[in-house]
């Protein structure tokens, strides 16, 4: 039982690995035709030009990446008690290389009533062979607001998100396993005119482990998908219920998007 979340994380990573393997297989199968027509760019080539959002890369200073993606959390029904709808979330990312492996990063995750806005600084290092490594620290706000459907409520919290990434190149497909800590606080909420804090405040709100698969294209853009596990407290997963349970819940997260 103690290893429950770890099991879920392993399961998610394992499944994502299978997807990645299938993707790589498909990429390899398609390689001769692609090469003949100019083909997708290699991960190594793109890493030195515009870089990737997830695969740790060190493009020259001033090179930028934008990304538009979607995220879906398959929330544990115990957290979702009484609710049957989970909205997909939109994810917007921006990355600007500062040179020498340093990057400025910005991230917005929104499902309209809840929003995460983070900016951060990262450092990436190309390791031996196909391996690469990255570390980043992001900070920003977690903001939720709902003024209808029986709510006149707002919640706001400072959020901090340190993360580590390990990347592996498969030629024209990049695999990246990113683990991040989710730290939040102080956290306040308003209902009507009444502001108050939550019980069981705890800076440690959770962690995530996601395996990303980034696929290069001829134009230098990248499409990606990924899967992994989120392990968070309920108020992060679904703030409108304001549950005071300090328990951590593990649920799968699926992501997909396009990097320009």
């Amino acid at each position: 039982m103690l290893f429950g979340p770890a099991k879920c994380i392993g399961l998610a990573i394992g499944l994502a690995g299978v997807f990645a393997g299938s993707s790589a297989l498909a990429a390899e199968t398609a390689k001769p035709a692609a090469s003949a027509s100019g083909g997708e760019r290699s991960v190594e080539e793109l890493a030195k030009q515009r870089g990737f959002l997830y695969y740790p890369s060190a493009p020259p200073a001033g090179r930028m990446r934008f990304s538009l993606g979607a995220t879906y959390d398959a929330i544990d029904p115990a957290v979702m008690y009484g609710m049957s709808i989970r909205f997909p979330q939109l994810a917007l990312d921006f990355q600007d290389s500062l040179g020498k492996g340093f990057l400025f990063k910005a991230h917005i995750n929104t499902m309209l009533i809840t929003n995460e806005v983070l900016v951060g600084l990262g450092y990436n290092w190309a390791g031996p062979g196909p391996w690469s490594f990255g570390a980043a620290f992001n900070a920003g706000m977690f903001l939720g607001k709902l003024g209808g459907f029986g709510f006149d409520a707002l919640t706001i919290a400072a959020e901090y998100r340190p993360e580590l990434t390990v990347g592996y190149s498969l030629g024209d497909v990049a695999l990246s396993l990113r683990g991040s800590l989710i730290l939040m606080g102080p956290e306040r909420a308003r209902v009507g005119d009444l502001w108050a804090g939550f019980d069981n405040p705890n800076l440690f709100t959770g962690h995530s482990e996601i395996l990303y698969v980034e696929n290069t294209t001829r134009s230098g853009s990248v499409w990606y998908f990924g899967a992994g596990a989120m392990t968070t407290r309920a108020h992060y997963a679904f703030w409108v219920l304001f549950p005071d349970s300090p328990s951590l819940y593990t649920y799968p997260r699926l992501v997909a998007g396009y990097e320009y």
């Binding site: 392993g10 690995g17 008690y81 006149d152 009507g192």
Partner: protein, 439 residues
């Protein structure tokens, strides 16, 4: 390469695929291994337990209960209630052969995995003697309980002492600590499932004097207690316990479904009978999840009211039909007309969503969601119209304090009954009377 990747993925994933993905774990409710000292004593009578009620200072053991605690009683139970981690202790009391009075049981923080045993004694020899003689001494500032508490099933060794400070503020028939679908949230570790009979019994022991219960109907029209429209793994067990609640007959449901902790899904009838016959709960708020449940629920409540009219021994008990939507309101109007046609007095109602409709519909209570704020003006306006207010569902202690002080409602639905009860005793004020009402 691809073979290697697939092998790696399977190597990582396979061990985890072999095991379940359950992250929750259960807490064992602690018990004295030999039944404790209560087994060797003579249990104090219900009226004697009243001699333990009061507001106490925690002179030893504040790390468990905080600086103060409220002690209230129910049949067979002394409840020690605190706002620290929504903690409570559920205790029994008995006179021992050596004329000491022991008070023992377990404590728990329901939102965490912390629980343990408690064993206390009435300090004064004279007071203990009086209890053993069948008397009910009136507690005063010299009254204290001294003993110890422990972790999980360990024999208690950490010092715990409660000193009587003052009487409790009036709460019976005055302020309603309403248990949210029974004692605890589905994410808690209370050892009982929401909306089960066991949960309703526990609700009283941890500080509630009323309960909010969710009503749905089976395919054959029997009102049962269940929250969600469908059976899901977070609420029930059973390989064949799937699909919509209203697609199974009561017999099919009984054959296929158990609640999370193994209880039977109760019928509303069984729950109402249990509440009036086995508890001192003072009310129930039936949250009608579907229009189809309104008429059968109203019939059961009307039958219960007739029964209670012939039960002067039973304290007051008010059951209200909760109306959360316009569809249920239409069903309520129709049910009321049907009952009146049959010469049956309809039960009382509670309207959840529109303050302006409550009085017009003849309901005695308004039940707004807390997520719109304390709304003191609406609460006062309805009070002047003879309507009380019960907010749902506030679990966070700072918000409980805010609502108690800003709106002074008639009651609050909560899954943290101990926190609400003790906070009411600590900083709350007796709700202003509702004009002309006898709720």
């Amino acid at each position: 390469m691809n073979t290697k990747i697939l092998a790696l993925a399977l190597a990582i994933g396979a061990p985890f695929l072999l095991a379940d993905c359950e992250s929750a774990f259960e807490v064992e409710i602690p018990m004295f291994p030999d039944g404790g000292l209560l087994r060797s004593g003579i249990a104090l009578k219900r009226e004697q337990l009243m001699g333990f009620e009061g507001f106490f200072e925690v002179s030893k053991g504040s790390s468990l209960l905080g600086e103060t605690t409220s002690v209230r009683t129910s049949p067979g139970t002394i409840s020690v209630l605190t706002n620290k981690n929504a903690g409570f202790a559920v205790l029994g009391a008995a006179c021992l052969p050596d004329q000491r009075v022991v008070v023992e049981g377990y404590w728990q923080y329901p939102t965490r995995v912390d629980a343990g045993l408690v064993r206390l004694y009435v300090d004064s020899r004279e007071t203990a003697q009086a209890f053993c003689n069948g008397e009910t001494p009136t507690p005063d500032v010299n009254f204290s309980l001294t003993g110890s508490y422990g972790e999980s099933n360990d024999i208690p060794t950490k010092p715990l002492q409660l000193r009587f400070v003052k009487e409790l503020k009036p709460w019976r028939r005055t302020f309603y600590t309403v248990a949210h679908h029974g004692a605890c949230e589905s994410t808690d570790h209370c050892g009982v499932s929401p909306n089960s009979l066991e949960s309703i019994r526990l609700a009283e022991r941890i500080g509630s004097n009323a309960a909010e219960l969710d009503v749905r109907v089976t395919r054959d029209g029997v009102p049962i207690l269940f929250h969600d429209p469908t059976f899901s793994a977070s609420l029930v067990r059973g390989l064949f316990c799937n699909g919509a609640v209203n697609q199974l007959s009561l017999a099919e449901m009984r054959a296929s479904c158990m609640m999370r902790y193994g209880e039977q899904i109760p019928t509303l009838d069984a729950a109402l009978q249990m509440m009036v016959n086995e508890t001192e709960l003072e009310g129930v708020y039936l949250d009608e999840k579907t229009p189809e449940g309104v008429l059968p629920s109203a019939r059961l409540v009307a039958k219960l009211n007739e029964q209670l009219a012939n039960r002067p021994d039973r304290g007051p008990f008010t059951a209200v039909i909760g109306i959360p939507t316009d569809e249920v309101l239409d069903a309520w109007r129709s049910a009321k007309a049907t009952l009146l046609d049959e010469g049956i007095t309809p039960p009382d109602c509670l309207l959840e969503y529109d303050a302006d409709k409550v009085h017009a519909e003849g309901c005695i209570l308004w039940g707004p969601t807390w997520t719109e704020g304390p709304q003191p003006d609406n609460v006062q306006k309805l009070r002047d119209q003879g309507v009380g207010t019960i907010f749902w569902t506030i679990n966070e202690s700072e918000f409980i304090e805010g609502f108690l002080t800003i709106s002074k409602p008639k009651g609050i639905i909560t899954a943290r009954a101990s926190t609400l009860f003790h906070t009411y005793q600590l900083i709350g004020s007796v709700p202003p009377p509702v004009k002309g009402a006898n709720q």
